[in-house]
Amino acid sequence: MRVQQPAATGLDLERVDGRAKVLGLAPYAYEHPAENPTYLYPVQSTIARGRITAIDTAAAETMDGVVAVLTHLNAPRLADAADKELAVLQSDEVGFRGQFVAAVVADSPEAAREAAARVRVQYHQEPHHAALRADHEDLYKPEQINAGLETDTQAGDPDAALASAAVVVDRTYTTPAEHNNPMEPHTTVAQWEGDRLLVFDSTQAVHNARKTLAPLFDVEVEQIRVVAPHVGGGFGSKGLPHAHVVLTALAAKVTGGRPVKYALTRQQMFFLAGYRTPTIQRLQLGASPDGRISVLTHDVVEQTSAIKEFAEQTAGISRMMYSADHRRTTHRLASLDVPVPSWMRAPGECPGSFGLEVAMDELAEACGIDPIELRVRNEPAIDPETGKPFASRHLLACLREGARRFGWERRNAQPGTVLVDGWRTGIGVAASTYPARRQPANTARIRFTADGFYEVQIGAVDLGTGAWTALTQIAAEALECGPEQVRLQIGDTDLPVATVAGGSSGTASWGSAIIGAAQMFRKEHGGFPSAGDTSEGDGERNPAGKNYALHSFGAQFAEVQVHADTGEIRVSRMLGVYSAGRIINPRTARSQFLGGMTMGIGMALHEQSVMDERFGMIVNHDFADYHVPSNADIRQLEAFWLEEVDEHAGPLGARGIGEIGIVGAAAAVANAAYNATGIRVRDLPLTADKFLT
């Protein structure tokens, strides 16, 4: 395949949407003008499992400004109630605490909230299970796991290989439930005009959103328009429509055509917008004394909601990361009466890399060899899972470049030996990876305008990552014009179909379609087009996927300080080196990598959603108690990348960078903390008390 020569890509272009955002002019979902709007506030279940036996809405209905009070008794019926997360107000069943059981629509947000507080709900409560345990009695094997992967894999005879291995690391690692918590809360503004639905949504995928909504409301996708020009983060939680989108659209059916506006509160987001399952991961690594791994097993227990299955592919990373003749990966789910888990930045690779990469650190120590050298010795020549060659695998180059920049040679192999002013200091490393996905089913349209601009249209979404800028650059390069000559239009289902801003696939998928459209445009209209000339192009499925394993790689380095007396832990320095194919815009790319690493520090040190299993309640459901790093917690962070173009990653040569920054980050921090203290913490987050023994 011809890889395009870089021109506008690679430029350190400022965000094209930056000025509008700084001025507050970039409209987010809640801010689009809506005429005579109504406001929704929900009533959430206070039990974890059972049935609604009575709802008293009289007090709410008689309040000034109340337009409607919806319950399962009077809400419009959905045409399809099979997805129990989305089938809001369709039955008396309660599947988790915090589920929608009623909603008030009113003339003002104040009235809606006040009336919602006056709705009285009675329940028949049933026994519930809300806590994940490794010995949960009804663990089951899902049909498949997220991204359509196989639930279990096996190669060789892992048990026999473990029995005969000279060195064995056999440990269990846990990660807690974590919530995505984007800055902009999940927000939907919905309005019906006859049988047409207009939705302003905070979503990572406008086209997918309407595809999900259409069958629920028994309309054709063309009858629904979803608009999302700007999104304040999602980290996966806005990749799929959640219950609030359906609830808002449902409520808009009873307002006589008035729009309904609903932004989740931060507290509601902890129940209704997805989260990362807690994981319990048993890793067994068997190796020769010189660290060559003969057997690798990764057995995962995690949870899903009883009302809807989501199976995180936690052990997926162990299928392709290192060579081993004998291998097993398994996933077992506990079906619990809890909110529905979903995508959160690097589902699978993120929690899985904590188990695998800490286990690798333990193996390095057990063999008495350097952790980087251990990875060198276990670098596979081909993808162990598929047997295909890697299109591009520069893990070792990332490790070596990172080691050089970070000062790895100064690491003291003996843990717990550096103590300065009461602080124990250590450094650690972990490898990172993320699959290079490119979604087909993307179309871009290019039109030459009367005033001499190229209008580039695609129904993609910029969830804050920089797609506005990167796609402008890609279009300019493909059209061989300056970025200032491109007028990009995204975030609207009126634009050609595009896939989700997720799975680190957006830029490569949409970019391929834009390149296709640009080539078509030049073919059809030449270099001197007339006003109105228009062409479309599609992103095709990447043919290289048939013959190659496509993954990005990276190396994460962390320096950690742990106070000898209090256990306080800080990440004083972190550095990542990534191999992700061509980097379209260094400025927004660096921001993405640093953002991923920052979120990884949060995962390592802070984030933990605490379930009170007695009530099925996530108790720390706000930022006072759910800790994410503040600016002052993030000290020195650096991100670098290898200059490369992946000729197998499509016409763009880029693989995607949204997620790889978080993968391995928590493991690097945990490994550095071990190097600092000699205390191996296998359960996230790394709180101070765990370092005082």
Binding site: E110, E114, T265, T566, H627, V628, S630, D633, D689, L692
Partner: protein
């Protein structure tokens, strides 16, 4: 969107007017100063006052002044003002220590010392600071002014001696010769509530022995100062063994509860460790003071 329950709002013109408004609007009226505790509580519907009486305009409550051996700080003094005051740093370094770790600059620009004390959150830092400095609170009400000591001021979590129809107007801190103080906090992330914190104030005799001392703890279930510290340290020379003993007493005196910021044992350990640290630092500062 987090929206408080309906409420009415009025700005007070002076202290007497604020008191009259409290009287007029009764038990469901609340004073609002910085608002960094009250407004979030209202948005979360943990508090539902019917009236907010805004005292931010009351310049008469925003002052810092030394009068003889007493330092008076008006209740409306902002955290940032305290943090940036060289005189406060010289006389009461514990205040500067604490202010550096209270929330973040945005909160400190708005929050007030009176608000902190009257909110009486168990994890609130300035309550401990006032305890160990043996401050007095000046409370004004319909019947005039009264002055209460800290042990009388605190009534438990979120409760103080300030009646519904009263307001705290100022805090008074005694200035002692050859004395100093220190505060240390362990937090899970920058700007968070304390996992645990400790404050200490000491006065040294001319011969360098400890004359008076007090230690207070934050967020670990201890009301007032740690009993027995003054007796233990009185007349002794500051040294590590002494601090260690004080630390053990402090750890035994507190009654922390386990939460996601830490378990009971860890918080007791911090009470011990932080007590040693603040005593060590307060004594070192006091002896510098003595030499200087």
């Amino acid at each position: 969107m987090q929206i408080p329950a309906p409420f009415d709002y009025v700005r007070a013109s002076d202290v007497d007017n604020a008191l009259a408004l409290l009287e007029r609007h009764g038990p469901e009226s609340r004073l609002v100063a910085g608002g960094h505790s009250l407004l979030p509580m209202m948005k979360l519907r943990l508090a539902r006052p019917e009236w907010l009486i805004d005292i931010n305009g009351l310049a008469e409550l925003d002052f810092m002044v030394r009068e003889g051996n007493v330092f008076r700080i008006g209740a409306l003094t902002r955290h940032t003002t305290l943090l940036e005051s060289p005189e406060v740093a010289r006389l009461f370094p514990i205040v500067t220590d604490a202010e550096q770790v209270i929330a973040d600059p945005v909160v400190r620009n708005r929050g007030t010392i009176g608000g902190s004390l009257c909110q009486a959150d168990p994890a609130e830092d300035l309550s401990t600071v006032c305890d160990v400095l043996r401050a007095e609170a000046v409370i004004r009400g319909p019947a005039g002014e009264r002055v209460v000591a800290m042990d009388e001021f605190h009534r438990g979590p979120y409760e103080t001696a300030v009646g519904q129809n009263e307001l705290m107007s100022e805090l008074r801190f005694p200035i002692r010769p050859r004395s100093s103080s220190a505060y240390e906090k362990v937090e899970r992330r920058v700007g968070d509530w304390a996992v645990a914190a400790a404050g200490a104030a000491v006065s040294l005799a001319a011969d360098g022995t400890i004359e008076e001392s007090s230690v207070g703890l934050t967020a670990v279930g201890l009301d007032g100062t740690v009993a027995g510290i003054g007796d233990l340290l009185g007349g002794r020379r500051p040294d590590e063994d002494l601090f260690a003993e004080a630390g053990r007493i402090a750890a035994a005196a507190c009654e922390p509860v386990a939460d996601q910021r830490g378990g009971i044992d860890y918080k007791r350990h911090l009470a011990d460790e932080l007590t040693r640290r603040v005593l060590r630092r307060a004594c070192a500062r006091a002896s510098e003071e003595q030499e200087g």
